[in-house]
């Protein structure tokens, strides 16, 4: 790979290709021939396509200069040392898996008793180096490596992750919490996870992104989730990292017949966050929910990019994203629903509502329906607007001051997404963080 002449490499890729040369001997799976080949193929791909640019339709509203203009260093040893305990959510009883700058830290993690014995869990490194050959080939099977440079980069340079398989018919008693702590200055974390939920089993997973310090960091994650027949998974992506953190988050889901998947993404932190969430309903009678809420201020930029592929009959899907944009923040939403020719009796709904609070905020939204079957019911709606003047007046006429009335209404606006969070302690925690953030923002000048 290093042999590829420089002038043939896509701009900005050189640094990471160099890192591969230096670090590939200590990356997970380096003792396994298959893994090494996979990484090399992906690196070549990355060198060729490079990072996306705004000329790519899928990235037109997200300038990546803040990421591509910096050289992040992949962490393989000496990751950030922070007390994992301080990132806990009050009253949340969970099995925890801790990652520091993308590297799995087995010590504070509950790997041994994860899922009360129903889950077979392995760090990516031991899975690839020592795991059964037959299962290895499934690793990364649905991650859209061809899609864009970030997934190719993750495939080539992932530095940690877990592989979990929930046994058929099992129900996990409490949520599994994957906590990704980033902290070292200009650290690059590239976790890669695989979750298999076998037939008829049920689990809750909370992916959390937090920062141990104020430094700029890049987290480029890729997670694949495979749901067998009748399996059920509730998935949460909670982004409360520092305002200097960058993240590209990828989640790919493949659902078999009668499975049920729901994802709730809540974004409150980060400088630039891009979430790629892609679900393929591959078996009849499957159901998928995607909910998202974000509240942004300062110069935050959040891009939610969802893809819902209906590939089988009788499937239903529901999508609701709500965002609040203050100060100079920018929100982007792209929601794609594709109904393939055989997916008759599809019912797919999508809505995206945005509240703009400031003169300098911007929203770019692009719902997208591609329908190749006729017996379907699909709809999408998008609204963009400001606070309801009448509601504001009502509250003020009852003696509530303007700032409080505004934060009350803003809070109410996103609360129907937060209300979808079934883990009570997590919902209460997010409501509190959001509430504090809204009050805090009011102290900033610049609001209308």
């Amino acid at each position: 790979m290093q042999a590829l002449p420089d002038h043939l490499l896509a701009p900005g890729t050189g640094h990471y290709i160099e890192q591969f040369g230096q670090l590939n001997h200590c990356l997970p799976g380096n003792r396994d021939q298959w893994s090494r080949d996979q990484r090399k193929t992906s690196l070549a791909r990355f060198g060729k396509i490079g990072f996306p640019t705004q000329k790519d339709e899928d990235w037109r509203y997200t300038p990546l200069r803040p990421i591509t203009g910096k050289s992040f260093d992949l962490v393989t040893d000496d990751p950030v040392a922070a007390d994992a305990g301080k990132f806990g959510i009050p009253d949340l009883d969970s099995y925890r898996v801790i990652f520091r700058d993308g590297v799995l830290d087995p010590n504070p993690s509950d790997l041994d008793q994860l899922g009360g014995g129903h889950i077979e869990v392995q760090p990516v490194s031991s899975f690839l180096d020592d795991g059964p050959e037959a299962r290895k080939s499934g690793f990364g099977e649905i991650i859209g490596a061809e899609e864009h440079g970030f997934t190719a980069l993750n495939s080539a340079l992932f530095n940690g992750g877990v592989v979990m398989t929930l046994q058929a018919g099992a129900v996990v008693d409490k949520p599994i919490e994957l906590i990704f702590i980033s902290g070292r200055k200009l650290a690059m974390a590239q976790p890669r996870n695989r979750i298999v939920v076998e037939r008829g089993s049920k689990m809750q997973v909370v992916e959390r992104y937090v920062s141990a310090g104020p430094h700029p960091t890049l987290t480029n994650s890729a997670t694949e989730i495979v749901l067998d027949e009748g399996a059920e998974a509730d998935y949460y992506i909670i982004q409360t990292q520092a305002k200097a953190a960058y993240q590209v988050c990828g989640v790919w889901v493949r659902q078999a017949a009668a499975s049920r998947f729901s994802c709730r993404t809540v974004t409150l932190g980060g400088a630039l966050v891009r979430n790629n969430l892609c679900a393929e309903l591959g078996g009849a009678d499957a159901h998928c929910d995607m909910y998202g809420a974000y509240s942004l201020s300062g110069r935050q930029h959040v891009d939610n990019h969802t893809t819902m592929i209906h590939a089988a009959r009788n499937c239903t899907s529901n999508e609701l994203y709500k965002g609040v944009l203050d100060q100079r923040s920018r929100g982007v939403f792209r929601g794609r629903i594709k109904v393939e020719p055989d997916a008759q009796k599809t019912d797919a709904q999508q809505a995206n509502n945005t509240l703009i609070l400031s003169r300098d905020a911007e929203i770019d939204t692009k719902p997208q329906l591609e329908i190749y079957a006729d017996d379907v019911k699909c709809s999408h709606g998008a609204t963009i607007g400001q606070m309801d003047g009448q509601a504001l007046f009502y509250l003020r006429s009852r003696g509530i001051d303007r700032q409080e009335a505004e934060s009350l209404l803003t809070y109410a606006f996103v609360s129907d997404v937060l209300g979808q969070i079934e883990i009570d302690s997590l919902r209460r925690y997010l409501e509190k963080v959001l509430g504090e953030q809204l009050i805090h923002e009011d102290e900033h000048p610049g609001r209308e």
Binding site: D364, T365, K366, P367, I371, Y372, S379, I384, Q386
Partner: protein, 483 residues
């Protein structure tokens, strides 16, 4: 269903009624495009120097561009060197009445069902038809009534001679020469078109209309229409299109520019029924059109209404730039794709001025193997205080091999803007169909009734005589699509 199957089959397989070639000796340039061809076109049309330079500039820009790849369309690349860029009927003298028109032309129009020679007799409805046969206008009527009102309605080439100042001022002001690939091509080689100027305070006394018709073999048609509505004026413009049957694809890359000054209103309606190709998708017109209006003045209004039932491929986004405060943009569209037709159509509403409003109503119908896409942009710039947009895109699917797609873009940079978008996709409700059938309607009639109801919001925007034609067209294009 079986009782009507036979009728359906015969209807579906009905040959394109408008498909025939009129044998007129045309003065045609050999295929190919280069600067010499552009100079020849310009010289043949005795154009002023500035226009030649403008054409050449557009051509140079075009050479550097690539045909757009982003539409949801599939077709083989067009060989632009295999197209003849100029074709004019040889007879050139101007005519005062229809009697002097070449009877073969009149015959063509009669076959099309255009009542051009009956219009004078039509009581109550006055429609002036500046009939464009291929590239040169040959019949112009009702000039007198219009000139009494001060309205200028003439071929673009004539306007260049009589009103060069106006043309120079506005040509390319809304769609610049290098705007996009097909607009640049049009700017370089446009052959003819219509020019309309409505003076201040004048309400145009009649609906203006032009029938475009592609004729000679392998002749791309590059029309250019320019409509200027001066302060507080009003004009309603009708455009209808049909084309004869061909085996080879024909390219049509037209440009329409509208300028509405303070308080002016332009209503632009289109019924497009060009040859869509046969059931296997052979032949048919490539319709790559750039249409854009600028609401330059305060309180101005531009309204686009289109019924697109023909063409193998439609690529068309009539847009409005809402510059003036309190200006209004509207887009009403029905697009139908049957057999192998593909359409990627929609609109752009660019809100620049304060209190600007836009409405988008788009109805897409897909049948057979048709692929129908709505692609639209609503952009609210920072200064567009209290901008308001409402968009609704509905798609109706008939048959399990067709596709309906929506690609709306919304970019909002102003907190006081309110933008709403709704889209639905479904097939004709079985309950609706059952209800109609149970009341004694045949399946055909029921479908036709439901589809017409689906499109009603758009049809009611069409001028009366067009609305009737549009309903008929829709009926004919769809009959047999249900089964």
């Amino acid at each position: 269903m079986t009782t009507t199957e036979k009728d359906l089959t015969s209807l579906v397989q009905r040959e394109y009624k408008e498909g025939f070639v009129t044998d007129i000796d045309a003065d045609t340039l050999p295929p190919g495009l280069n600067e010499a061809v552009i100079r020849t076109i310009s010289a043949k049309k005795e154009e002023p120097e500035f226009l030649l330079q403008w054409r050449l500039e557009a051509y140079r820009r075009w050479l550097e561009m690539d045909a757009p790849q982003w539409p949801h369309l599939r077709y083989p690349p067009v060989d632009f060197q295999n197209i003849s860029y100029y074709s004019a009927p040889k007879q050139k003298k101007l005519l005062d009445s229809l009697d002097e028109v070449d009877p073969k032309l009149l015959e063509t129009y009669t076959k099309l069902g255009i009542p051009i020679d009956e219009q004078k007799a039509l009581a109550g409805v006055k429609v002036a038809v500046d009939a464009v046969f291929d590239s040169v206008s040959v019949a112009t009527t009702f000039k007198k009534t219009l000139s009494e009102a001060g309205v200028i309605f003439c071929p673009l080439s004539e306007a260049l001679k009589d009103h060069p100042g106006l043309v120079r001022k506005y040509l390319g002001s809304v769609v610049p020469a290098g705007d996009n690939f097909y607009a640049a091509l049009n700017s370089a080689v446009f052959s003819e078109g219509s020019f309309v100027y409505i003076p201040p305070g004048v309400r145009c006394p009649m609906e203006l209309s032009t029938y475009f018709r592609i004729n000679a073999m392998n002749t791309g048609q590059f029309e250019r229409t320019l409509i200027i509505a001066d302060q507080d004026s009003y004009v309603s413009y009708l455009e209808g299109c049909t084309a004869p049957q061909r085996d080879e694809n024909q390219l049509h890359a037209a440009v329409v520019e509208l300028v509405a000054l303070e308080g002016a209103e332009i209503k632009y309606s289109t019924v497009q029924n060009w040859y869509p190709g046969d059931e296997e998708g052979r032949g048919g017109i490539y319709n790559f059109v750039t249409k854009r209006g600028a609401c330059q003045g305060k309180g101005s209004k531009i309204s686009w209404t289109q019924v697109e039932t023909g063409s193998a491929i439609t690529w068309k986004y009539p847009s409005v730039i809402l510059q003036g405060d309190h200006s209004i943009g509207e887009f009403y569209s029905v697009a139908l794709t049957n057999n192998c037709q593909q359409a990627d159509t929609g609109t752009k509403m660019i809100h620049i001025g304060q209190n600007t409003k836009s409405t988008i109503i788009s109805k897409g119908i897909s049948a057979g193997r048709g692929q129908n896409s709505y692609r639209g942009l609503v952009k609210v710039l920072k200064g567009a205080e209290k901008a308001r947009n409402y968009s609704q895109c509905d798609s109706l699917l008939m048959g399990d091999r067709c596709g309906a797609h929506t690609f709306p873009y919304m970019e909002v940079k102003n907190p006081s803007a309110v933008v709403e978008h709704e889209a639905t996709t479904s097939r004709i409700g079985e309950d609706q169909l059952f209800y109609c059938r149970q009341r004694g309607l045949s399946e055909e009639d029921a479908v036709s009734m439901i589809v017409n109801g689906f499109c009603k919001e758009v049809f009611k925007e069409l001028p009366m005589e067009f609305a009737v034609e549009a309903q008929k067209l829709l009926g004919i294009s769809l009959e047999g699509a249900v089964g």
